[in-house]
Symmetry: C2
Subunit: 272 residues, 2 copies
């Protein structure tokens, strides 16, 4: 079986959950996106990985226990360890919701728990076991990894964002394209939810990247992975290695399917 | 941190689910066993892995699609691939139930999806990534793997039983003991649910093993991993490598906790 390209899709946490309501999945949107993925996949002979963020499942717990900061020693040790476990449970719980929805739509989706197949050192992925994901793709199964609380050789544990996992997989597996589904139309010069005059940027590349990064402010929701600023940095690093990405608004019906079918210019393109 | 021994516990599928009712977990038993694990762990300074079987979650689907036989080609290919995905989803769904229950009892349990960290070849584990499980144990987190539908280099995919995963981890990590929780008092010369004259065997060792294997009959429930016969073979292989195991009846309150506290002779001891 020769694969005609590998596409990585990210379903953002703000799209598949209600970010201000802990453990509340947006089943309606998840169902529609599963349908779009199912329809696109049926007429597509490439390989697909569908990764997703955690949104209101792991983020509030991770923030409460400071899981992204690593293991705490002393009096906070026991709580810190439990915080890690609770965060991983929350991330995996949302993963079940996504995989089940895809399966209901006939998409042969399979969980791929990042904390079981990779290790970080100071928040950077330093070691991973990719035989399972390669085997899944070979048989046209669709791996579903997610932003996860993972073991870290120096910090004890940390959070690895979905973007970082996507970047790792895209580089190691040789992806042709990344599609990032968010709840806004693309990358803006500032947070469009807070500033009415925020401007959509159609293309992020080396010439405008410094200005964009300078004007962007950190996310307001309890997103321990850094919001849109982090996304742009990660996706630009990927673009430099030759993998373009497209940030689209997946709350608009049909956009994910169109992006999967190869239609361009639906949101922001990040290129080198 | 120096670990005072590693104990691997298996919660059998027949204990934590109702084997004849698909996707029906036995919440009452799961809750009690979580409490026993929590109490024992509080006064125990060793490392612990809690693995579990799939019972009525994955087994009926795996049997229906023949997932243990591997990927089917031709007209059955698409269904076969979906069958794999459905089986893995079912196994991971029960894993969430177990991990959540342990967390409710304050046990820092963390999922460890076998299909994400190991690969088989003709049903034998040939490659695995053990850095995450080692890191979890180092920080006194409790990994929770399970019998899983995994990728197989020759068969496409297959089922790897919890016993086989336990044996792999016990050998690679250097376990001191394995406790296998079942719904009967131990290993019998024949199925005690079918034969009133079945005799409990207190100790399985090299001298009586051949007779035991000969008298035992395959499991009657849709257990694609081979029932008690398979358990005895796997555990005896482990015993030959120096790791003793104890098969106990976990439907009897207190037995798991007693076994964890080091009390012997509660069921059947399997030794070399």
């Amino acid at each position: 079986l020769v694969l005609a390209g590998l596409i990585l899709v990210k379903l953002g946490g703000s799209v598949i959950t209600f970010k201000d309501r802990p453990f509340k999945a947006n089943y309606e949107v998840i169902d529609r996106l599963s349908m779009e993925l199912s329809e696109a996949y049926a007429s597509f002979n490439g390989a697909l990985i569908v990764a997703h963020g955690g949104g209101s499942f792991p983020h509030p717990i991770a923030a409460k226990y400071g899981v992204h900061e690593g293991l705490k020693e002393g009096v906070n040790h026991r709580g810190s360890v439990l915080g890690y476990a609770l965060t991983q449970d929350a991330a995996s719980s949302l993963n079940r919701v996504i995989v089940s929805s895809l399966l209901r739509h006939g998409v042969p989706a399979v969980s791929l728990q990042p904390s079981a197949f990779l290790i970080a050192r100071r928040r950077v992925i330093v070691s991973s076991f990719l035989e399972p994901v390669k085997a899944l793709l070979k048989h046209r199964l669709i791996p579903v990894p997610f932003g996860d609380a993972v073991m870290d050789e120096e910090l004890g544990f940390t959070i690895i964002s979905t973007e970082r996992i996507i970047r790792h997989l895209a580089v190691k597996l040789g992806a042709s394209k990344v599609i990032v589904c968010t709840d806004v139309d693309g990358v803006y010069d500032k947070d469009p939810k807070r500033y009415a005059d925020a401007k959509l940027i159609r293309k992020v590349c080396s010439s405008n990247l410094p200005n964009i990064l300078e004007s962007m402010t950190p996310s307001t929701s309890p997103d321990v992975t850094g919001g849109m600023l982090h996304k742009v940095v990660e996706l630009y690093e990927l673009a430099k290695l030759g993998v373009e990405s497209e940030v689209i608004n997946a709350l608009k019906p049909g956009l994910l399917k169109q992006a999967l079918m190869g239609i361009r210019g639906l949101g922001t393109t990040i290129t080198a």
